[in-house]
């Protein structure tokens, strides 16, 4: 029989232990009865027959014991005994138990919480059918995470003519949508997707239906009366209390009515981890971009046919893509970026979140791993110290015949019980930690919404971590404690303390070393945050609120004259600006198409008139349309020339301002003022005269070097500006001006919507979310490590003082000064810490390289960070040594001498 099935039988037998016991008993008693009856039949007198039958059988208890053994019950019985014994011991020393369980609980809890996050963000595959056959169709040759799909007309070609996919579906990035349900305006997270989306992913509805092929067409093209909408189960529950009546319910999106036709299962919230989707609408509802041949605005996911290889599928799609691009005659900027098709595995969804958080999360995972190790060292230390108290007991048990293996098992059971308690406490910490982290990540404007579950994967992780932890901290003390000479139970106290003390010291050195690594890391991350906070971003960080105002424009018509249309739009926006100027409390206001930190960008090509054409990549520049007060409002200084004024009208000379980086690249040290630039490929081809140079500003991220930027007056826009950012410097809270902006927009902008209200400070905070997360966690866990290490130092020194009480007493008796006794203890601490620093500092220098990408303007070997961490450790070590040292100096020589 295999070990496994024998174990199973053992366990089953253990389960029915009481039954088995009774059966054995019955069976053996029956045996004796029958044997007695046979003896009676042979004429043995009743008394004698009973006695003989019993004697012949022997001890029933012994037989049952052997029987239990044969049934595989002994191990279980012993285990029960061990557990009861261990529980009694732990109850008897509540302080030890509390410290140990807390050390383990914090360590295991931290690991569990971070693992739950790591699993959700980095490891889990999408809850769809056969995720490994799904691929994103990336049109930028793999430069993106797979989110760069083709323009819609190109998508239609790929969808209808590819040979290796069972289906291709388009879906856009998704985001907040303003809708009206039952007359109430609401904000939901929605996305647009093509009809094949749910079929390609293999997501079946829990209610109603998902999309049908006809849903790719608007009603006129043969679709249903109003476009269908599919909602998530979470939204169904939250908004409609799981009512089946939800099918057929109309929702108003902008000016379009859609009808709910189905609900998708709970697990599925779209393909973008961290951005769950509640409402999915057909692609054609989105807007008029479906016909645009040059707009790159959505992603494509496809399911490979069985047996099709990635290479052939990729080549097939790329052929069609290249033909499309050639037909389009697309050159220049678009061709540089969108050059070829690459298939990106889609099993884990779009990876923008993974890309941002992979390194920070692994760093934090490592940190909590080290914290757990420090906690383990603490518990091991406590166990070793406790073992001293139990040496006599263990020696006695060895002497009366307990086997060493049996005793090790007993001690390991204690460890297992401790770790089980620790894991239970850890789970509580983990739940709290996870919900705190989830709130932290959801807090910003980018709002990363994660839903980590304590599922089987997480629980398995906890079990594995707990098992390893238990083994780690109890095997050394267990083996050590039983290495006792059974022959001299009373003698043990003099035989081993040296070795035990050395184990404790080694553990403390380990703790202090790891703490140094963690604290140095925390210091590096804090300095990174400080540096980001103090970097010159090129604009004022405080007191500015921004919000986006969108206009609902008629569909784009390429036959309309761009000059005329743009002039009309400019007039509309100027009307809005005029009204805003008259709002109370606003000291400065400007409109722009981009704003610092808003994470949107508009890239175009630029040529200097009269200069030789530059390379494609040098021609790229960011374009921002702004009103006159933009530079004042955002505190951006002009280096040279002038800012825009109200006299820069649609009809006046076209003017532009470059930032320093652009001016430097295109004109070197020469002044650009008066030179002309053009923006090839745009609908407006007039040259712009450079009238000023503005200081560089960082856009989108404080980490990135400033990009080249050209500013144009909003009145002379080359783009069809359908939405602007209102930047306001106000004497009152930003919330106070939103109402005014809404009123003003309602009066001047058709179909206006005001969204994304946020201050620049908040945006900066959001942009540093990762850095803040890592710095926060590194600091919290660094502090935890410090506390644990401090407890370790204290424990070891207390024990050392206890051990040397007699020696100290003698020293004092023969005239040693108290100060020299204190020095005796402090010297031990100092030595331990010096050793730890000697190991720890090189360890920091070695490991800090791995976090370099997460740092900002601080080197991994930053002397300030390392010395601050070391100084903190020395200070805390001294503190931990203080109590034992004082106790040593207070030793009464007479008491000390009498005590042994």
């Amino acid at each position: 029989m295999s070990l496994r099935s024998r174990l199973l039988v053992s366990l089953r037998n253990g389960w029915r232990q009481a039954d088995l016991d009774r059966e054995m008993d019955d069976e053996m008693r029956l045996h004796i009865e029958m044997s007695e009856r046979d003896l009676l039949r042979k004429g043995v007198p009743a008394d004698e027959a009973r006695r003989q039958a019993r004697a012949a059988f022997g001890s029933i208890d012994a037989a049952k014991d052997a029987g239990r053994d044969a049934l595989g019950l002994r191990l279980l019985t012993e285990l029960q005994g061990d557990l009861r014994y261990a529980a009694r011991l732990l109850r008897r020393s509540p302080a030890f138990t509390a410290v140990a369980v807390l050390s383990l609980g914090l360590g295991i809890g931290a690991n569990t919480a971070i693992f739950a996050l790591v699993d959700t963000v980095l490891l889990k595959t999408m809850p769809v059918k056969e995720p490994s056959r799904l691929y994103f169709v990336d049109n930028s040759g793999g430069k993106s995470d797979g989110s760069n799909g083709p323009p819609y007309p190109c998508f239609e070609i790929l969808r209808d003519h590819n040979r290796f996919f069972s289906g291709l579906a388009a879906f856009d990035g998704g985001g907040p949508m303003n809708v009206t349900i039952d007359g109430t305006p609401e904000r939901v997270r929605g996305q647009f997707a093509s009809a094949a989306y749910f079929d390609v992913l293999g997501v079946r509805p829990v209610l109603g239906r998902t999309f049908m092929p006809a849903d790719d067409q608007p009603a006129a093209g043969g679709g249903t009366d109003t476009p269908p909408a599919v909602i998530s189960e979470v939204f169904w529950e939250r908004r409609f209390a799981r009512s089946p009546e939800v099918l057929g319910k109309p929702i108003l999106l902008g000016r379009t009515w859609v009808t709910i036709v189905g609900v998708t299962p709970r697990a599925f919230r779209g393909l973008r981890p961290g951005s769950p989707v509640d409402l999915t609408l057909p692609m054609h509802v989105s807007d008029n971009r479906l016909t645009s041949k040059e707009h790159w605005w959505f992603s494509v996911v496809g399911r490979l046919k069985d047996g099709a290889s990635v290479e052939e599928a990729q080549a097939d799609l790329d052929g069609m893509f290249q033909a499309y691009m050639t037909d389009l005659g697309l050159k220049g900027n678009s061709r540089i970026y969108f050059n070829q098709i690459a298939l990106i595995p889609a099993a884990r969804g779009l990876n923008d979140l993974r890309h941002d958080f992979a390194t920070p999360l692994w760093i934090v995972m490592t940190i909590v791993g080290l914290v757990l190790l420090i906690g383990c060292a603490n518990v091991a230390n406590l166990l070793v110290a406790r073992a001293s108290a139990r040496q006599s007991e263990i020696a006695v048990r060895l002497a009366i015949g307990a086997s060493r293996g049996r005793l090790v098992r007993q001690l390991l059971t204690e460890g297992a019980l401790l770790v089980a308690l620790g894991a239970a406490v850890g789970l509580v910490f983990a739940r709290w930690g996870v919900s705190t982290l989830v709130r932290f990540l959801a807090g910003g404007q980018g709002s990363i919404q994660l839903e980590p579950h304590f599922d089987g994967r997480v629980l398995t992780f906890v079990a594995i971590v707990a098992a390893l932890t238990g083994l780690l901290f109890s095997i050394v003390p267990a083996l050590h404690a039983t290495r006792v000479d059974a022959a001299k139970p009373d003698n043990v106290r003099t035989s081993t303390p040296g070795r035990r003390a050395r184990i404790g010291q080694a553990l403390v050195v380990l703790q202090v070393t790891l703490s140094l690594v963690l604290l140095s890391g925390a210091a590096l991350f804090i300095r990174t945050l400080q540096n980001l906070n103090s970097v010159d971003a090129g604009f004022a960080r405080h007191g500015i609120a921004t919000m986006r105002v969108e206009a609902m424009l008629p569909p784009f018509d390429s036959k309309r004259d761009a000059h005329q249309e743009h002039a009309q739009l400019a007039q509309m926006w100027e009307g809005l600006l005029e009204r805003l100027h008259s709002q109370p409390g606003i000291s400065s206001v400007a409109l722009s198409t981009m704003s610092p930190m808003a994470r949107r960008s508009r890239g175009v090509l630029v040529d200097v008139v009269g200069a030789p054409q530059r390379s494609e990549s040098d021609r790229g520049i960011s374009l921002n349309h702004v009103t006159a007060d933009y530079f004042d409002t955002f505190g951006i200084h002009l280096i040279e020339g002038r800012a825009f004024t109200d006299r820069d009208r649609a009809t006046s000379t076209r003017v532009a301002i470059l930032n320093q980086s652009a001016a430097r690249l295109y004109f070197g040290d020469a002044s650009p003022i008066g030179r002309l630039v053009k923006f090839p490929g745009q609908r407006i081809q007039d040259p712009f005269e450079i009238v000023g140079v503005a200081q560089d500003t960082r856009y989108g991220s404080l980490r990135k070097q400033p990009e080249r930027m050209a500013y144009l007056p909003l009145s002379q826009a080359v783009d069809r500006v359908s939405s602007v950012i209102v930047g306001i410097r106000a004497a009152i809270e930003p919330a106070g001006v939103v109402g005014g902006v809404r009123d003003a927009a309602a009066k001047t902008v058709p179909g206006s919507a005001v969204t994304d209200v946020i201050t620049i400070d908040q945006q900066i905070d959001d942009s540093m979310l990762r850095e803040r997360l890592v710095a926060l966690l590194a600091t919290v866990f660094g502090a935890l490590a410090l506390v644990l290490a401090c407890m370790g130092v204290y424990g070891v020194l207390s024990y050392a003082v206890l051990r040397r009480t007699r020696e100290i007493g003698i020293r004092l008796a023969i005239g040693a000064k108290r100060a020299s006794v204190i020095w005796l203890v402090v010297r031990e601490t100092a030595l331990l810490i010096v050793i730890a620093l000697a190991i720890g500092i090189p360890a920091v220098l070695l490991t800090a390289r791995y976090v370099q990408t997460q740092l900002f303007e601080v080197t991994p070997a930053d002397p300030l960070a390392i010395s601050a961490a070391a100084a903190l450790l020395v200070a805390v070590g001294a503190l931990a040594a203080f109590l034992p040292a004082r106790r040593a100096s207070n030793v009464d020589p007479m008491v000390a001498l009498r005590c042994e």
């Binding site: 037998n13 054995m24 053996m28 029956l30 044997s35 009856r37 012949a56 001890s59």
Partner: protein
């Protein structure tokens, strides 16, 4: 009973398998059957019978069913499983080879060497 022989370590299992191979038996019956077929020449520690039965059952060679004993009590009857039958055959062959070899060895005289 002075000429009875104590059962050798390890042979009790074989004797139990033999006894049970002749028909299903309860524990006491196994004892009686062994005494009967050995002509009362084997002495068995009665208490050690049961651990051996449990071990054989756990190893999958025996199975049990509930029945009524001669005195009308509920009793546990043991019988061989197919695996037990195979095991019994192997053990028997092994024992015969072993006892032949021992017999041969013990008959050896100085001149044979």
């Amino acid at each position: 009973m002075s000429d009875s022989t104590e059962v050798l370590q390890g042979t009790l299992d074989l004797l139990i398998l033999k006894a049970v191979s002749l028909g299903r038996l309860h524990g006491y019956g196994v004892l009686l059957r062994i005494q009967q077929i050995s002509g009362d020449r084997l002495q068995i520690q009665q208490g050690s019978l049961y651990p051996a039965l449990y071990r054989l059952e756990r190893q999958g060679y025996l199975m049990h069913e509930w029945g009524e004993s001669e005195n009308g009590r509920k009793a546990k009857y043991y019988r061989l499983t197919p695996a037990g039958r195979r095991r019994f055959k192997e053990e028997t062959e092994y024992w015969q080879r072993f006892s032949d070899a021992i017999g041969l060895a013990l008959k050896a005289m100085p001149e044979d060497v």
